[in-house]
C-alpha cells in the first residue's frame, strides 16, 4: 500500500552525515545525507572521481563509512551480521559499469546466478530466466559465454541478472556507457518500467542525454559533497 504521505514510509536507503576516506587519504565523501524513498527513481551524477562509485559501494555494503550513519532497508549497517548482510544484498540488484559477468558461465547461468545462490532448484527458475533473457533480446544468446557477447549484449545480460530476483532496489553504474544511443534509450525505458512495478532505481551516469529524457531527481556529487536537484 502506498502511503498518502510521501516520506512517511521507511526509506530504502538513508545516509546521515556520511564521510568516507580510503586509508589516510583525503575524504572522498563529506557530510553526505540523503534518503531514497521506496519506488523512487533518481540519477546520481557528477564528474569523474567525484565519488559516485564510492557512494554505490557504500549502498552495496562492500565498503563501510568512516563516519556517519548508513541505513539500508531501515537497518543500520555499522554492526550488521554476515547473515543479515546477505539478506540485504538479496534485495538489491546491481549493474556494474564493467558488467562483471562470470566468463566461465553461459549467459543463462550468469542471469540465473542470484536465484541459484539462494539454493533454489534449477527447474524452479528455468522458465523465468529464459523468459527474461528473451525479453532483453538475448533469447538466441543464452548458450554463449560472455567473452563472445558484444558490449550491448553483455550490458543486457548484466541488467537481466540484476532484475531476475526482482530486487527492491536497483543500482546501475553507467548502464548506458557502452551502448549506442538507441539501445541506451531502450534500457532506460526498461528501468522506468521496473520502477513502475515498485523497485527503487538509482542510475549513476554522466549521460545528460538520458537524464534529460526523464523528469527525475538528480543527486549531483562534486568535490565529495552531495547536492540534490529535485
Amino acid at each position: 500500500m502506498k502511503s498518502l504521505l510521501p516520506g512517511a514510509e521507511r526509506p530504502v536507503v538513508q545516509f546521515e552525515n556520511v564521510g568516507m576516506r580510503y586509508g589516510l587519504g583525503p575524504e572522498v565523501l563529506s557530510d553526505v545525507s540523503f534518503r531514497i524513498a521506496p519506488r523512487s527513481f533518481q540519477f546520481l551524477t557528477g564528474p569523474s572521481g567525484a565519488g559516485k562509485t564510492t557512494l554505490l559501494r557504500l549502498i552495496l555494503l562492500s565498503a563501510r563509512p568512516t563516519r556517519g550513519l548508513v541505513s539500508i532497508f531501515g537497518e543500520e549497517v555499522s554492526s550488521i551480521s554476515a547473515k543479515a548482510l546477505t539478506g540485504l544484498r538479496r534485495r538489491m540488484g546491481v549493474v556494474f559499469q564493467d558488467f562483471r559477468l562470470l566468463d566461465h558461465l553461459t549467459t543463462y547461468e550468469n542471469v540465473a546466478l542470484p536465484l541459484r545462490v539462494q539454493g533454489r532448484a534449477e527447474t524452479s527458475y528455468r522458465a523465468e530466466v529464459v523468459e527474461l533473457l528473451r525479453w532483453v533480446g538475448l533469447g538466441e544468446r543464452m548458450h554463449a559465454l560472455p567473452p563472445l557477447l558484444s558490449g550491448g549484449e553483455k550490458q543486457r545480460a548484466a541488467i537481466a541478472r540484476a532484475l531476475i530476483a526482482r530486487p527492491d532496489l536497483l543500482l546501475a553504474d553507467e548502464p548506458t556507457g557502452n551502448v549506442d544511443p538507441g539501445l541506451g534509450r531502450r534500457l532506460l525505458r526498461l528501468f522506468l518500467e521496473l520502477n513502475k512495478l515498485g523497485t527503487s532505481v538509482i542510475i549513476a551516469t554522466h549521460d545528460f542525454g538520458i537524464m534529460d529524457a526523464v523528469d527525475a531527481r538528480r543527486m549531483v556529487l562534486g568535490d565529495g559533497r552531495l547536492r540534490i536537484e529535485e
Partner: protein
C-alpha cells in the same frame, strides 16, 4: 513478453512441466568456480604424485608387516637344543638323552637329531669342505618342531635339560632373533606410516597454497557471488566442491597407479621366482605380495587425500572470506 513479465504476482509454469520453448541442451549448472584451469590440473597432478608415493610407502610397509608375521611364525615354530661336547663326555649319549627328554615333552611335534656329519656340514660355509673336523669340538644340534595343538612348556624343558646335562645342553627358542626381527619390522612399518603422514601433510600444504592462489585469481568471482547474494558458506562450499573434485581426481589417479605398480611388480616377482636366485630372494625377503589389506590402505590414502583437500580448502576459503 509484456511488462507483466517481471511483476511479483506473475504465474510460472508448474514445476515439472518444462517450458516447451526452453532449449533442451541448455547448460544449466556449471560449477561456479572455474574448474579446468592449468592451476587446477597442476594441483591434481601434485596430489596424484603424493598419493602415489604415500601408496607405495603404505603398500611396502604392509608387505613387510605381513612377511614379518610369517617369518616370526616360521621361526617361532622351531626351537633348537645344542649339545656341547666336553672332555670325558660321550656326546652321542648326551644327544640321545636330550632327545629323549625332548620327546617326552607333550608340545613337541617332531624331533630331529643332526648327526655328527650333518653338524659338520653346517660349518662348511664358514670353514670350507674337505677338512677333517673330528678333532674340533663341534656342537651337536637337535631341531624340535612345536605342535600346533598343544603349547610346549619351554621353560620346563629348559630346566629339565640343564638339570640332566648341566653345562652341556642349552635350549635356543630364538627369542632374541624374534625380538630383533619384530623391532626391525615395526621400525619399517613405523617409517612407512610416518612417510604417509608426511605426504598427507604435504598434500594439505599444497592445497592451502593452491586454494589461496585460486581465491586470489577468482577474487572477481567471489565478489560477484557476494553481490548477487551468496553467503560465505555458499562460496566456501563452491570452492570446497571444486577442490574436493580435484583431490578425488588426483587421489584416484595416484592410488590407481600405485595399485598398478604393485600388481606389475607382483607379476614380475612371480616370473623371477621361477629361477634359483628368485627362490633365494624370496627365502630372504619373503614373498612379494601386498595383499587385500595393502590395496585397501592404498585406496584409503587416496580417499583421505581427497578429504584433506576438501577440508583444507574449505578452511582456507573461510579464512580468506573473513
Amino acid at each position: 513478453m509484456s511488462s507483466q513479465a517481471t511483476s511479483r504476482g506473475r504465474t510460472l509454469p508448474p514445476a515439472g512441466i518444462p517450458d516447451p520453448a526452453t532449449p533442451a541442451n541448455l547448460r544449466r549448472n556449471a560449477p561456479l568456480v572455474p574448474t579446468d584451469t592449468t592451476a587446477g590440473r597442476s594441483l591434481a597432478a601434485v596430489i596424484a604424485i603424493l598419493t602415489f608415493l604415500a601408496g607405495l610407502c603404505a603398500g611396502a610397509a604392509e608387505m613387510v608387516a605381513a612377511n614379518a608375521v610369517q617369518w616370526q611364525g616360521d621361526v617361532a615354530q622351531e626351537i633348537t637344543i645344542q649339545i656341547r661336547p666336553g672332555p670325558g663326555r660321550d656326546v652321542d649319549a648326551d644327544v640321545a638323552r636330550a632327545a629323549t627328554i625332548a620327546k617326552a615333552e607333550p608340545g613337541i611335534a617332531e624331533t630331529r637329531v643332526f648327526s655328527k656329519a650333518e653338524a659338520e656340514r653346517l660349518l662348511e660355509p664358514w670353514l670350507g669342505s674337505g677338512l677333517d673336523l673330528s678333532d674340533l669340538p663341534v656342537p651337536r644340534l637337535i631341531a624340535l618342531r612345536l605342535g600346533n595343538t598343544q603349547s610346549a612348556d619351554l621353560k620346563g624343558l629348559r630346566s629339565r635339560l640343564v638339570e640332566a646335562l648341566p653345562g652341556v645342553a642349552s635350549l635356543d627358542d630364538h627369542v632374541l632373533w624374534l625380538q630383533r626381527l619384530s623391532t626391525a619390522a615395526n621400525a619399517f612399518v613405523g617409517i612407512g606410516v610416518g612417510l604417509v603422514v608426511l605426504v598427507l601433510i604435504a598434500t594439505g600444504l599444497a592445497v592451502t597454497f593452491a586454494t589461496r592462489g585460486a581465491m586470489a585469481s577468482n577474487r572477481e568471482v567471489v565478489e560477484v557471488l557476494h553481490f548477487v547474494g551468496a553467503d560465505d558458506d555458499y562460496i566456501a562450499r563452491a570452492f570446497q566442491r571444486r577442490f574436493f573434485g580435484l583431490g578425488l581426481r588426483g587421489g584416484a589417479i595416484g592410488a590407481g597407479v600405485a595399485i598398478l605398480a604393485f600388481v606389475l611388480a607382483g607379476l614380475l616377482a612371480r616370473a623371477a621366482r621361477s629361477g634359483p636366485a628368485g627362490q633365494e630372494v624370496e627365502a630372504l625377503f619373503g614373498a612379494f605380495h601386498v595383499g587385500l589389506r595393502g590395496y585397501a590402505s592404498v585406496i584409503l590414502i587416496g580417499v583421505i587425500a581427497s578429504l584433506v583437500t576438501g577440508v583444507v580448502s574449505r578452511i582456507t576459503v573461510r579464512r580468506f572470506l573473513t
